[in-house]
């Protein structure tokens, strides 16, 4: 059975000869056949002025197009993604976690109201820098567990309560907690309080303060690890993304629609259905800001990687549509009430959220259409 239909290689040349013969014969048939010949000539003579006009306008259009520079290549987009988008974003994240860590240390040394407020502000600032990076979370954030270590959800309140009720909270106990007891949301839970009323500085226990100190350092360590994973000649940036530019364009679009989809259906849709407990960053009331950061990150990936410029060259209508729809979604996100969790039962707010979800899904659809065009 094996290979019985295999034809010797020499015979393959026969296909080419056959094709040549056939084309030649077919042409003879067409052009020496009076009825077909005159039929074609009539059509062609009418087409010539049309073709001429088309050629002329195409030349004019391309000469007068608003492109001041040549469209970027895949290689350039891939380089721009790594060097102008991802690495700077993770450097900013590291800087923000360092500041948060310092603020937490200050709070632990001197648990005053002012220091608590300062630490909370730094948490929100650091959160912003992290949520912006969602679009490029494929790669080490996902595959090397940095995402769960930085940002797992929900918080395992039972385990945290148990750990924090014991006599001393140590680094070892912290290591015994799963990622659902650490990271941004673990810190958030302790820093802002898990109940309806925010916790007061005076109410913070020694164990909670000890936790904040260890957790802050751990967050910074993971942020640095993530940056390192993308950096250097062996890092994901050079060794994966820049090494395979053909795939980068599609990957960015996938990252964009993945982030948008998660925001619309997961973060917002999930909470609409299940209530405010489902809202990520519910303890700090920060979900609305998270969403704005997520969407801004999508915009940064779109523009700063020069994918937008590449897309405009291939299909300016779709590219502009994407830009406009994305801007619209970001505006809507910015208009959400400050503490979304307080307003989730309010009908007007729910309508606003649904509108935002629809606006985001529109960008997802356009991104999909663009992917089809750029394949």
């Amino acid at each position: 059975m094996k290979g019985i239909f295999r034809i010797p290689a020499a015979a393959k040349k026969g296909t080419l000869r056959c094709a040549h013969l056939f084309i030649g014969y077919f042409s003879l048939v067409i052009f020496h056949n009076e009825p077909i010949h005159s039929f074609l000539m009539k059509r062609i003579s009418r087409l010539v002025p049309l073709l001429g006009a088309a050629a002329l306008s195409a030349t004019i259009a391309s000469a007068c197009s608003p492109q001041s520079e040549a469209a970027p290549t895949d290689q350039e987009v891939s380089s721009a993604l790594v060097n102008d988008v991802v690495l700077p974003s993770y450097k900013t994240l590291v800087g923000a976690t360092e500041k948060l860590n310092k603020a937490l240390e200050k709070l632990v040394d001197d648990p005053t109201s002012a220091n608590l407020d300062a630490a909370r502000a730094e948490w929100k600032a650091a959160r912003k820098t992290w949520e912006r990076t969602e679009t490029w979370a494929y790669g080490p954030a996902e595959t090397d567990d940095f995402d769960p270590n930085l940002d797992d959800w929900p918080v395992s309140t039972k385990e945290l309560a148990e750990a924090l009720s014991e006599k001393d909270f140590t680094a070892d106990k912290f290591d015994d907690l799963d990622t659902t007891g650490r990271g941004f949301h673990g810190i958030e839970y302790v820093l802002f309080g898990g109940g309806d009323k925010p916790v007061e500085a005076a109410d913070l226990t020694t164990q909670q303060l000890a936790y904040l100190k260890v957790a802050g350092a751990d967050l910074e360590k993971n942020a640095k690890g993530l940056l390192a994973a993308w950096s250097g000649p062996e890092g994901f940036g050079k060794a994966d993304v820049e090494a395979d530019p053909a795939k980068t364009v599609n990957d960015i679009l996938e990252g964009m629609s993945g982030c948008l989809d998660e925001v619309a259906n997961g973060k917002l849709g999930g909470a609409l259905e299940a209530g405010k407990g489902e809202l990520e960053s519910t303890f700090s009331g920060n979900t609305g800001a998270d969403v704005v950061s997520n969407l801004t990150g999508v915009q940064v990936a779109w523009e700063k990687s020069r994918l937008q410029a590449l897309a405009q060259d291939k299909d300016s209508e779709l590219a502009n549509q994407l830009t406009e729809e994305l801007n619209s979604a970001i505006s809507k996100a910015k208009a959400l009430p400050a503490r979304l969790n307080d307003k989730l039962d309010d009908q007007a707010t729910r309508e606003q959220v649904k509108e935002l979800m629809a606006a985001i899904m529109q960008v997802v659809d356009t991104t999909g259409a663009l992917q089809g065009k750029l394949e």
């Binding site: 395992s156 106990k173 994901f236």
Partner: protein, 446 residues
């Protein structure tokens, strides 16, 4: 005049037919199986034309609106991070477990790396052929525990290099300080396998798979695939298809087992129950179990990178056939007609998973002493599906191949083939470098 012109047109048409006919015959370069249907559409109508990092997470094509809506609705169940709950002892996650969500091991629905948190150890007592459970542990080692509890053992993993390949050495130390030695306890590291095409694999008629089985090698070709028989969740005896050693017959059973063994989450016993098998309130409702099963069943598989007519495919697939790889990695299957199928797209598809879903003896190199409660021998493994093989590293950069991820490349995986596959491996080693590259290029575009 007219008749003359007509004759010329007809002759032209005849020439066209001959040319096309010859063209088709010249494509008969590959093995028989690459000519029926379209191997590029690996999952039939459910093929996903996406070879980016999201390829395995993309819902299958061919789902109608209601089916797609349900797929999207059940998607979050796979990524849900579970936590311990207030309630009876063991409510929620754990107390001991290997992971707290499906997605934490099945990274982006693909393979896990052979590291803690993305892989787990199946274990058995060496005495008695690897069919006895380890006292106090059972058949799976849970190396994580919720706060306030100790895992069943702490694990150290060390990779030992041997002749360009590598093998795992592991050390299990129990909370009481004693080691579970390699001499007494057999251990088999298992990376999370990819989640693609599960519904389709489930839909292959049992009779088709059994027809390919030849436990006593009656046809004398050196290949003796045999089925695993298991009791499915509804008590019926069915052929095992899922897992590295085919110990589950259905996606539902596989999911329920994974919840229980990998995450310490109990599942409701049936659609009308809120109680688990242990009589306590179930951690995972029937609705959620059914949901995660549905999600899994409606995942597709990626299209191959190359069209079936490409020279990469014709050259590589000839070699695949010549080396007898196709004897176990049977290229094509068909799914049956099931009026109760969760998605119509699952029915009557020609698919290209490159597996017979049967057990084969793979030789002493891959024998790790764990016999899965007697369902198979410790040297036997289910033929792994090869669809999506070229996407493995795209989805999770540093994964390995084979059950414990020991093979860092596809070539290393081939070199570990022994037992029934020893001749194929030998034949591969005897290939010229050029032919090796051709075979690997074809595998890489799967």
């Amino acid at each position: 005049m007219r008749f003359h012109s007509l004759a010329k047109i007809l002759l032209g048409f005849l020439a066209l037919l001959i040319a096309v006919g010859l063209g088709i015959s010249f494509k008969l370069d590959g093995p028989v199986w690459a000519r029926a249907g379209d191997p590029q559409r690996s999952a039939g109508v459910m093929t996903v034309f996406n070879r980016s990092f999201t390829a395995f997470e993309t819902p299958a094509e061919g789902l109608n609106k209601a089916e797609l809506d349900r797929h999207i609705e059940t998607d979050p169940l796979f990524e849900e991070s579970h936590v311990p709950l207030v309630g009876h002892l063991g409510a929620g996650l754990g107390p001991t477990h290997n992971a707290k969500s499906c997605a934490s091991c099945h990274i982006l629905n693909g393979r896990g790396k052979p590291i803690a948190g993305q892989s787990l150890f199946r274990v058995a007592m060496r005495d008695g052929g690897g069919v006895e459970p380890v006292p106090g542990i059972g058949f799976q080692l849970q190396d994580k525990a919720i706060y306030g509890h100790r895992p069943e053992a702490n694990v150290e993993r060390v990779w030992m290099e041997e002749g360009g390949l590598r093998r795992l050495q592991s050390r299990f130390s129990r909370p009481d300080g004693k080691d579970l030695t390699n001499e007494t306890v057999a251990r088999s590291l298992r990376i999370a396998p990819p989640m693609i095409g599960m519904g389709l694999l489930e839909a292959i008629p049992e009779s088709d798979l059994l027809a390919h089985a030849d436990p006593d090698d009656q046809d004398g070709d050196g290949i003796s695939g045999r089925p695993v028989w298991v009791e499915d969740h509804d008590g019926k005896r069915r052929m095992g298809r899922f897992g590295w050693k085919a110990i589950s017959a259905s996606v539902l059973q596989q999911s329920a087992n994974a919840y229980r063994d990998d995450m310490g989450l109990t599942t409701a016993t049936g659609p009308d129950s809120e109680i688990a098998a242990d009589g306590k309130p179930a951690d995972i409702s029937w609705e959620k179990l059914d949901g995660v099963t549905y999600y899994t069943q409606t995942l597709g598989a990626p299209a191959t990178a190359k069209k079936a007519s490409s020279s990469v495919v014709s050259r590589g697939s000839i070699l695949f056939d010549q080396l007898q790889c196709a004897s176990c990695h049977v290229p094509s299957q068909r799914t049956g007609i099931n009026p109760g199928a969760v998605a119509m797209a699952l029915n009557e598809q020609r698919i290209w998973p490159y597996t017979d879903l049967l057990l084969h003896d793979m030789g002493p190199g891959l024998d790790d002493g764990v016999a899965e409660e007697g369902l198979s021998l410790s040297s036997e493994w289910r033929t792994a599906p090869l669809w999506g093989l070229g996407m493995a590293k795209r989805v999770n950069r540093k994964v390995g191949f084979l059950h414990d991820g020991r093979a860092r490349t596809v070539e290393e995986a081939i070199l570990w083939h022994g037992g029934e596959a020893a001749q194929s491996r030998q034949d591969y080693e005897n290939l010229s470098n050029k032919k090796k590259r051709q075979l690997l290029a074809w595998l890489d575009q799967l």
